[in-house]
C-alpha cells in the first residue's frame, strides 16, 4: 500500500461518512538536532514521526483527525472520525452559512527543495566536531556559556483531496547557530551568529558550511564580554538603523502576522489575536513609506518558507503584500479567501500530520532598496545602529511592538561610535514603517524556525528576505 493509497482511503471514508469535501496528508518527518555547550555535546536527538491527517467538511463545518498509522483500515477510520468531528462542529454552526472553499483546479505533481549535501548523511562526528570546536573557542575567548546547535528536518508529504489533488513533496531544511553568553553584574549579555537562533533554509548542509560558524566564534565571545563594560543604550527618540537580521523579525511580527487573513477575520481572536488591518481598505491603506515593498513568495529558492504547494494543494505563487507602502495582499487559504471574497489562497500549512493546516506565513519579505548600510550610516548625524534580536513582543492587533537587540553602536556625524548595551526600540507598526527613509539593497532571506500559532500549538517555519534600513523618530532605550 502506497502513501497515496492511504490518503485515498481516508478521503473515501470521510466522503462515505457524509463529508462534502475531504483531504488527507500523509507526512513522514525525520528530525535531528545536536547541541554543544562549552566544548562538549550536551544533546543529540533524532526523531521520526509519520502519520495521516484528515480534514472533512460536513454541512459547512470542519473536522480533523490525525493518527500515526498508515494501515488501510486505520486510514479509513481516521477519515470517518474526521467526518464525525465535523458533524459535531455543525451543531454549533456559522449562522452566516458555511464558508466553503474558493474553486481550485486539481493539482497533480511533485516537488523537492534544493539540497546539495543531504544533512542527515553528514557524519555525526563531523557535525559534532563543528559544534564542540566552535563552543570551545568561544569559551577560550571569554564566554561564560558557549552554545552551538544545529537542526535538520527531512519531510515527505503525500496530499490527496476529494477534488482530485495528488501531490508529493520532499522538503529538507537545516541551519545552525552559535551563541556566547557572559554573566555580568546582575545582568547577562549575549551575542549570536549568524542570528539569534541560526540561519535556516530549505537547503542542505551546504547552508551550514557556508555559515562558517567557527570563523565567528572568537568575535562574538569578545563582543559579549565587551558588552558587559559598555554604556547603556540611551533612552529617548532618535534615528535608528536596524540590521537585516533584526528587521527580518520586525517584518515577521508586524507585517507577516498582521496580513494573515484568519487573524483579520477573527479566527485567532482568543489566542494569537486579530489584526489592525481592515479588509475594506485592502488596496488603499497606507502601511508604510514608499520604500516599503513586501512580497509573499513561497517560490523563493532556498528560503525557509518555500514549497511547491501549500498543505491544501494550492501551487506556490508570488504575490504583493505591500506595494510602495500601500497594503495590497494577504496570506490566505481557500476557506478564508471564500469568507473574505478573495480569489487566492496558497498560505495554508500544518506542523506535522497531527495538526490542522491553517493560514501561516511562507516567505514574507522586503524587496531591495537603493542604499548600502555604509551610505545609511554616513547619512546619519546622530542615531543608533542596532542588530541581532534578543527579545520581541507585540500586541494582539500587531500594532504596539517592543524589540530588544543584542548589540548597538552610537552613530555620530556619519560614523559608528561606542558600543551600547541593552538596546531596545518600541513603536506602533504603521507609524514605524512610515518612518523608513533608507533601505539597503543587501537582501538576505533569514529563516525563522519557531513561529508559534494555533491551538493546539503549531510551530511554523518561515522565511523573511530583509536588509538593513533606517527609521526616524524611534523611541529607544526602554528599560524596566
Amino acid at each position: 500500500m502506497t502513501h497515496f493509497d492511504a490518503a485515498d482511503a481516508a478521503v473515501e471514508a470521510a466522503l462515505a461518512a457524509g463529508a462534502t469535501y475531504a483531504d488527507a496528508r500523509v507526512m513522514h518527518r525525520r528530525y535531528e538536532s545536536m547541541s554543544a555547550r562549552n566544548g562538549d555535546v550536551e544533546d543529540l536527538t533524532q526523531r521520526e514521526s509519520a502519520g495521516i491527517g484528515v480534514r472533512a467538511l460536513v454541512g459547512g463545518s470542519w473536522g480533523f483527525f490525525g493518527v500515526p498509522d498508515l494501515d488501510d483500515a486505520v486510514a479509513r477510520r481516521a477519515g470517518a472520525r474526521a467526518a464525525e468531528i465535523a458533524a459535531a462542529s455543525a451543531t454549533v454552526p456559522n449562522r452566516r452559512g458555511g464558508p466553503g472553499l474558493i474553486p481550485a483546479e486539481p493539482e497533480v505533481g511533485s516537488w523537492a527543495s534544493e539540497c546539495r549535501i543531504d544533512p542527515l548523511s553528514v557524519p555525526l562526528s563531523e557535525k559534532g566536531d563543528l559544534l564542540t570546536s566552535a563552543t570551545a573557542e568561544m569559551r577560550k575567548q571569554g564566554a561564560d556559556i558557549a552554545v552551538g546547535s544545529y537542526d535538520i528536518w527531512d519531510t515527505r508529504k503525500w496530499f490527496v483531496s476529494s477534488e482530485g489533488h495528488r501531490i508529493d513533496q520532499h522538503v529538507r531544511e537545516c541551519g545552525g547557530a552559535i551563541t556566547s553568553t557572559v554573566i555580568g553584574d546582575g545582568e547577562t549579555q549575549v551575542r549570536s551568529y549568524p542570528s539569534r537562533r541560526g540561519q535556516f533554509g530549505t537547503r542542505g548542509w551546504e547552508l551550514v558550511e557556508e555559515t562558517d560558524l567557527g570563523a565567528h566564534a572568537a568575535r562574538i565571545a569578545e563582543e559579549a564580554r565587551a558588552l558587559t563594560r559598555a554604556p547603556q543604550c540611551p533612552a529617548g527618540e532618535t534615528t535608528v538603523i536596524i540590521g537585516g537580521e533584526q528587521l527580518a523579525l520586525q517584518i515577521h511580527e508586524s507585517v507577516g502576522h498582521a496580513i494573515e487573513l484568519d487573524r483579520i477575520l477573527g479566527w485567532e481572536a482568543a489566542y494569537a489575536g486579530t489584526s489592525w488591518l481592515d479588509l475594506s481598505r485592502l488596496g488603499s491603506l497606507r502601511f508604510g513609506s514608499e520604500l516599503m515593498n513586501i512580497v509573499i513568495d513561497p517560490t523563493y529558492p532556498g528560503a525557509l518558507g518555500s514549497f511547491g504547494w501549500d498543505d491544501e494543494g494550492t501551487r506556490a505563487h508570488k504575490r504583493d503584500a505591500v506595494r510602495n507602502g500601500v497594503w495590497t495582499g494577504v496570506l490566505a487559504g481557500r476557506e478564508s479567501a471564500a469568507v473574505a471574497g478573495l480569489d487566492y489562497g496558497g498560505s495554508v500549512r500544518a506542523d506535522g500530520w497531527a495538526r490542522l493546516p491553517m493560514v501561516r506565513m511562507t516567505n514574507v519579505g522586503l524587496e531591495p532598496g537603493p542604499h548600502t548600510l555604509e551610505e545609511m550610516i554616513a547619512a546619519t548625524d546622530d542615531g543608533i545602529y542596532m542588530d541581532m534580536n534578543r527579545s520581541w513582543s507585540i500586541d494582539d492587533r500587531r500594532l504596539n511592538f517592543q524589540f530588544g537587540c543584542q548589540i548597538a553602536y552610537e552613530i555620530k556625524n556619519g560614523r559608528l561610535g561606542r558600543m551600547l548595551k541593552n538596546p531596545t526600540y518600541t513603536g506602533i507598526g504603521p507609524r514605524f514603517w512610515a518612518s523608513m527613509d533608507m533601505l539597503s539593497s543587501d537582501i538576505v532571506a533569514w529563516g525563522t524556525p519557531n513561529c508559534g500559532k494555533g491551538q493546539p500549538g503549531q510551530t511554523g517555519h518561515t522565511g523573511h528576505p530583509s536588509a538593513p534600513a533606517r527609521f526616524t523618530n524611534v523611541r529607544v532605550g526602554v528599560r524596566g
Binding site: S33, D40, V41, E42, L44, T45, Q46, R47, E48, S49, A50, G51, S61, W62, G63, F64, F65, G66, P68, R81, E84, I85, A88, S89, T91, V92, N94, R95, S125, G128, I145, S149, I183, G186, T188, G266, W267, A269, A270, Y271, R355, L356, S391, S393, I394, D395, D396, N400, Q402, N422, T424, T426, G427, I428, R431, Q455, R475, V478, R479, G480
Partner: protein, 463 residues
C-alpha cells in the same frame, strides 16, 4: 499498538536496545500515549475541531562514553527495530559525553490520580455541547476560544531496574467574549475533572468583563500599584518557572535565585506539584525520577529549583523530576507551579469586572492603581532579573480609593518579575487559586489574585 500497555511497550524496546547495545550500555525508554481533542470556536461558531491519538517512544542509549537519543511515533516491530539500530549507531558515532549522569535505579512513584473517565470518553458532541453552553452564556457578544480534553498515559523503564507508569487527564477552557466595540473579557480554567469546568458560568463571567471594559481610555504610562487577576499571575508564575527556577539556568548563574535568601516577600510561598495539583501532571519525568511536592520559595525564602539528572549532578543536588523532551537544551521548567493563596472565605460572584470577591477584596485596598486581567506576549529581556516586556489584555481598569472607576486601554510593561514579588512589594494575595491551562502541553499554573506595590508600565496603547 493494539492492547499493549505503555509499560509493556517500554519493556519491549528496552529489551531490543539492550540486546543491540550490549549489557554494559545504559538504556532508558519512555513511552507516552496522548489522546488530545480540542474544539475551537471563533465568531461564535466552531471553526476548527481537531483530535489525534499519538503514541511516541523515546529511547536513550549511553555506551562507551557516548550518548544518543531518539524518538518515534512508529511503533510497529520493524520501525522500533530500526530506531534501536539507528540509535546504537548514533551513540557510536557521536562525540564523547563526559557529563552523562547515569540512570536512576528502582524508585517508587506516588500513585497517579484517578483518571477522569468522563474525559477519556468525551466525544466531539460532548465538547461541542460545552462550547454551545459558553456561546449561549455570552449572549449578544461574540465568543472565541477552545474547550479541550486530554488523556495522557506514560511509562518509563531503564536498564538499571526502574519501571514505572502513570496516567492523567485534563480538561481546559480558554475563551473570550467580545463586544461590538472590540472590548473583551476572558475565562480560563484547567482541571483533572471535566465536571469542574462550568462553561456557562465562565461565559457569563467573560461577558461581564467585556462589557465592563467597553469605553476604555488611554492613561499615562508609569509605575502603578496593581491587582493582577489569577490569569495574569499565571503568566508571572510561568516566567519565573522558565527563567528563575530552571535548574540549568541556576547552574549557569543566569537565574536570580540565591538559595536561603529572602528574595521575595514573606507572604509568598511557591510550590510545584504535579502530583496533587488541581490540573494534570504525571508522577515521574522522562528519566523516571519520581515527582514530589517541590517547595521553590517558602515564606519569601528561595529554597529549590527544578533539576533533571544532568543538571542535578552539575549542581551537586538530587534530581527532582523535571527532565522533559528538550530540557537538556532549554532547561527545566516547573510544569505545575502554584502560588499559595492566603487564607480566606470561599469566593463569591460579584458584579463588575473583578473575577470574584477574593479579587475585589484586593482592589478595595488600592489607593490608586490598575486592575489587570491578563498578560500577552511576554518575553524576556534578561533572565538574570526575569526582566520581561509584554502587554495587558482582556480588560484593565483604573482603581481609585478602593473602587474600580474606569476601563483603560492596554498598556505595555517592562518589569522584573522576581523584583515585583520582592520583600515589601506584595501587598496582598487572594484567597482563591485557580488553575489555568498552558497552550503547549498539559501544564498549568495555579494562582490567586495578587496585589503588588508597583508595576512598571512603559508605554500606552498608542506607543
Amino acid at each position: 499498538m493494539s492492547d499493549q500497555t505503555e509499560l509493556e511497550l517500554a519493556a519491549r524496546v528496552l529489551e531490543l536496545a539492550r540486546a543491540s547495545a550490549g549489557p554494559s550500555a545504559d538504556v532508558d525508554v519512555s513511552v507516552n500515549r496522548v489522546a488530545l481533542a480540542l474544539t475551537r470556536f471563533a465568531n461564535s461558531y466552531i471553526h476548527q475541531n481537531v483530535a489525534d491519538t499519538t503514541t511516541e517512544v523515546q529511547l536513550r542509549i549511553h555506551s562507551e562514553g557516548r550518548t544518543a537519543s531518539a524518538s518515534s511515533t512508529l511503533v510497529g516491530a520493524d520501525a522500533l527495530g530500526e530506531m534501536v539500530e539507528r540509535t546504537v549507531a548514533a551513540a557510536k558515532a557521536s562525540p564523547a559525553d563526559p557529563g552523562w549522569p547515569g540512570l536512576i535505579g528502582p524508585a517508587p512513584v506516588l500513585p497517579s490520580h484517578d483518571v477522569d473517565e468522563a474525559i477519556v470518553d468525551a466525544s466531539p458532541a460532548d465538547r461541542a455541547s460545552r462550547v454551545r453552553d459558553y456561546i449561549e452564556a455570552v449572549g449578544d457578544l461574540t465568543a472565541a476560544g477552545y474547550f479541550r480534553t486530554r488523556y495522557w498515559s506514560s511509562a518509563y523503564a531503564n536498564s538499571a531496574g526502574q519501571a514505572v507508569s502513570g496516567a492523567c487527564t485534563e480538561a481546559a477552557l480558554d475563551a473570550i467574549a467580545k463586544t461590538a466595540s472590540l472590548s473583551d473579557g476572558v475565562a480560563r480554567q484547567a482541571s483533572r475533572r471535566i465536571a469542574d469546568i462550568d462553561c456557562a458560568v465562565h461565559g457569563a463571567r467573560a461577558a461581564a468583563k467585556a462589557r465592563a471594559w467597553d469605553g476604555a481610555v488611554e492613561i499615562e504610562p508609569g509605575a502603578y500599584e496593581v491587582v493582577l487577576e489569577p490569569t495574569a499571575v499565571a503568566d508571572v508564575l510561568y516566567c519565573l518557572g522558565n527563567f528563575g527556577f530552571n535548574g540549568k539556568l541556576v547552574n549557569e548563574h543566569q537565574s536570580f535565585l540565591e538559595f536561603g535568601s529572602q528574595q521575595m516577600d514573606g507572604s509568598v510561598t511557591l510550590v510545584d506539584d504535579a502530583v496533587s495539583a488541581v490540573a494534570a501532571g504525571l508522577p515521574f519525568d522522562t528519566e523516571g525520577t519520581p515527582r514530589r511536592r517541590l517547595v521553590l520559595v517558602e515564606n519569601g525564602v528561595s529554597r529549590d529549583a527544578a533539576y533533571d539528572r544532568r543538571s542535578a549532578v552539575e549542581a551537586g543536588v538530587a534530581a527532582n523530576g523535571y527532565a522533559a523532551a528538550e530540557s537538556a537544551v532549554f532547561g527545566m521548567s516547573p510544569g505545575n507551579i502554584r502560588l499559595e493563596p492566603a487564607a480566606g472565605p470561599a469566593p463569591t460572584e460579584v458584579d463588575g469586572p473583578a473575577s470574584n470577591s477574593s479579587v475585589l477584596e484586593l482592589v478595595a485596598r488600592v489607593g490608586r492603581g490598575l486592575l489587570v486581567t491578563d498578560h500577552f506576549y511576554t518575553r524576556c529581556l534578561d533572565p538574570r532579573r526575569v526582566l520581561m516586556t509584554g502587554l495587558t489584555r482582556n480588560g484593565t481598569w483604573l482603581i481609585e480609593n478602593g473602587e474600580i472607576v474606569r476601563p483603560v486601554k492596554n498598556m505595555r510593561f517592562t518589569q522584573s518579575y522576581s523584583e515585583s514579588l520582592g520583600p515589601g512589594n506584595v501587598l496582598g494575595i487572594g484567597s482563591d487559586a485557580i488553575a489555568t491551562p498552558y497552550n503547549y502541553g498539559a501544564n498549568s499554573a495555579t494562582a490567586p489574585g495578587l496585589h503588588l506595590a508597583a508595576w512598571n508600565f512603559t508605554g500606552g496603547a498608542s506607543g
